[in-house]
Amino acid sequence: MSLAFQAEGLVKRFGKTTALAGIDLAAEQGSVLGVLGPNGAGKTTAVRILATLLRPDSGRATVGGHDVVKDAGAVRRLIGLTGQYASVDEDLTGTQNLVLIGELLDLRRRDAKVRAAELLEWFDLTEAANRPAKTYSGGMRRRLDLAASLVGRPAVIYLDEPTTGLDPAKREDMWGVVRSLVGDGSTVLLTTQYLDEADALADEISVIDHGKVIAHGTPAQLKQIAGGQTILVRPTDPARLAEVGGILSAVAQREPESPGRGVLTVPIDDDRAFPTVVRRIEEAGIGVMELSLRLPSLDEVFFTLTGKPATADDDEKVAA
């Protein structure tokens, strides 16, 4: 497989603060790289360098094999950027915004209009097409912004916190869009503060904190870093809870916990533990309502990696 983009050892300082302290990022073509980190971790700075909007102080980055500094023009022909704050022109209508981008991408005016209508339709903005963008709701603006970044059918799409501030239903919609973009063969770099979002969308995740990658891997690999798995059992008959507890402690060699009424959980280290538990519960003839093997959440992963919760304070800035 070949890489759609690659950054090596990116360093960027703003005055005394170091936004990026030597960061490596890469994604294979047609995949989603999730860049996960709290506010001020350097996510946006990394995206801006990959989008040719900032020059790195050191290190290098390429998109489609083109250097983002030396060959910025070629890179710009490959990318689409959707920023953290919707970057559409408030005074222009939805159509006018998209047609303008189309014309700047050398589409003929007629083709630009066709493409604009197509995208507005896809993003459910056809009815609002002829209204100025300043009359749009937050979610509509985000969608228009994403549409604007897709006018040129970019091979690489940067989505910088595309769902920050959106309500849950709108987030799901946005996730659907990301999945269909990848389905069409685009490569996506997605930055997010939401662990479930990275988990839901990304093929690989780079966790960054204070301008450095502190972990990289698939969502499943990252979850393993945070420690073993947990078995959860809820017997149909609460009276048989003690029997279940006996089985669990025998298999896991430790005492199960009860996080709620009628439920027992126990952490396990051995891959064979779960089938054993299933077999013994069956042998004992205990009916279960719920029986699962749970991976740790990415919140727990982040806590393990950094020693602090993933949601850092908003006013916490990049470390000097």
Partner: protein, 276 residues
Amino acid sequence: MTTTIERTTAPVTESGLSGPPPARTFRVARHSLALARRSLIKTLRTPEQLLDVTLQPVMFVVIFVYLLGGAISGSQTVYLKYLLPAIMVQSVMFASVATGLSLNTDVKKGVFDRFRSLPIARSAPLVGSVLGDLTRFVVSIAVLLGFGYAIGFRIGTDPLSALAACLLVIFFASAITWVFVLLGVIMREPGAVQGTAFLVLFPLTFGTNMMVPTDTLPGWLQAWVKINPVSDVMDAARALLTGGPVGDTVTRSLLWSVGIIVVFAPLAVRFYRRRV
């Protein structure tokens, strides 16, 4: 803890943009025009932005002609004939500040990030703004001539000369616009742009023969008025609109305009490229 991926780099297919890019010069012109249309749409959508270029010159004419005209020329009609072509120059120069102001606020907005991430010339957004705001000059001149006509101003030459006067004034104003585009790109706050712009504009517009003939001024001021290019443009506009010798004022105005563009436009683009 970072796992490494095997790294091989191959070009990504350019799926969106088929074919080679068209010739560069035409692209810059086309992109600039597309962006000029954007500025025009913005102006039309918020016509109150045109208040400064319409009411302000009218106010100046009223103040100068009726307040001072009698004292200066002995006749308000005679003074109107002397003053109006010069006010025309002054008002388009004042109008040109707005381009720098709107760029200053625009550059900070996300939409300029988008422009910067597109494969277009760095100069296109700036050229587009300057071209788009030419409308403001046209509106300003039209209102001023209309109002002048209503209170007794008459073109003393022929329509062609009058048109030439308007075009010359617009060309000069678009050159001056680049000064404010530069300020707009360099400075951090719109307030700073405005303040600096007026520091530049007052000596340039009032330090001329706009209100009274040069020979009535003290020597040191005469020296400034004579080297001030705005005096040439005002003289040229006066000659083309009301008659009298044109002399080399038109040539000098054109040369100044070209000179200002040649110096300030590349500077503005240069600072814009650096600003991120």
